[in-house]
Assembly symmetry: D2
C-alpha cells in the first residue's frame, strides 16, 4: 500500500469538494468509526461459522466498508501528522515484543 | 505498507499464542471496532480545534489505536480472503468516480 | 419507563418472528452498537453548535436511533438476567459518589 | 425508570463539576458510543454460548457499561429536547407495526 499516493488522491477529492473544513481529527475519527460499525453490521446476526463463509455480495460489501475505514484513517493520519505505515509497524513490533514466547 | 509481510508476522503471533480459534471474521470485526472506539475516546470531550493540536502523549496514543485497528483489519482480510490493499484501492477509485467534478 | 412492559412487548415481537436463536448477548451487544453508530453518524460532520440545533427531520431520526439502542439494551438485559432500571441506578449512584464534591 | 429524576441527578453532577460546556449532543453521542464499545469488548472473544453464561465479575461489568450508555443517552435526550421514554415507546410501536404478523 502506497500511503503517500493514496493520501494525495484523497486530498484531491477533498479539495475538489471543499471538504477541508469538515476534516478535523475529531470528525474523521467519528467517520471511521461509523464505517467500522457498518462493517460490524454485516456480522451481527451471523454465527462465527457463517462469518467465515460470507456470500459473494456480503463479502464485496465487507471489502467496501474495510476500504472506507482505511481511507478515513489515512485522512486522519494526514491531519494528525502521523504516517499510517509507521504507526502500524510500531504497533506490530510492540505486539511482537509482548506476545512472542 | 507491505500487507503480505505484516499479515505473515501477525499470523506468527497468532499461532504462537494459539489464538486461531478466536479469529472468526465476526470476532475480528468486533475487535477492530473496539480499538476504533478507543481512538474515538481520545477526541470525545475535545473541541474540533483541540483535536487538531493533540499533546504529544495523546498523539502517540492515537497512533497506537490506529495501528491496532489496521492490524485487526489485516487479520480480518486474511480470514475473508480479501487483499487490504486491493479493497482500499477499489474504494478510492469508487470515491473518485462519485466525487470528482 | 416501565422496563417490564417494554421487555414483554419486545419478546412478543421476537417470538412472533422466531428471532430467539439470534438473540445471544454477544449479538445483541453488537446490534446495540450498530444502532449507536447510526446515531453518531447524524453528528459526524456537524460542529458542536450545529449538533445543538438539529433540523426537525434529523432530530426525529436521532430519537429513532436512541430508541433502537435502548430496545436492544432491554433485550440484552433480559438475556443477561439484569434489570435495566437497576443497573442504571447503580451506575448513577456510583457517579454521585465519585463526582460529588 | 423515572427518567425525570435520573436526569435531574445527572445534571446535578454535571453542574457540580462544571461539565456543561462539554455536553454538546455531538460529544454526548460519542461518549455513549465509547461506553457501548466497552460493553462490546466484554463479548468480543467469547462464543455466543459463552456470552450467555458470563462469570459474575463480567456480568457486573456488563451492567456497569449498560448503565453508562443509558446515562449518556439521558443526558443526550435532555440536550436535544427529547424524552427518552417517549422515543423508546415510539420506536417499539413502530417495530410492532412492522414485525407483527
Amino acid at each position: 500500500m502506497n500511503t503517500t499516493e493514496l493520501t494525495r488522491r484523497l486530498h484531491a477529492i477533498r479539495d475538489t469538494n471543499n471538504w477541508q473544513r469538515f476534516h478535523s481529527p475529531k470528525n474523521l475519527a467519528m467517520a471511521a468509526n461509523v464505517e467500522m460499525a457498518e462493517l460490524v453490521e454485516i456480522f451481527q446476526w451471523k454465527s462465527e461459522d457463517e462469518s467465515r463463509a460470507l456470500p459473494a455480495d456480503e463479502l464485496a460489501h465487507a471489502g467496501q466498508e474495510i476500504g472506507d475505514v482505511v481511507l478515513y484513517l489515512l485522512l486522519l493520519c494526514a491531519e494528525l501528522g502521523l504516517d499510517l505505515d509507521e504507526v502500524v509497524r510500531a504497533k506490530l513490533a510492540d505486539s511482537e515484543r509482548r506476545f512472542a514466547r
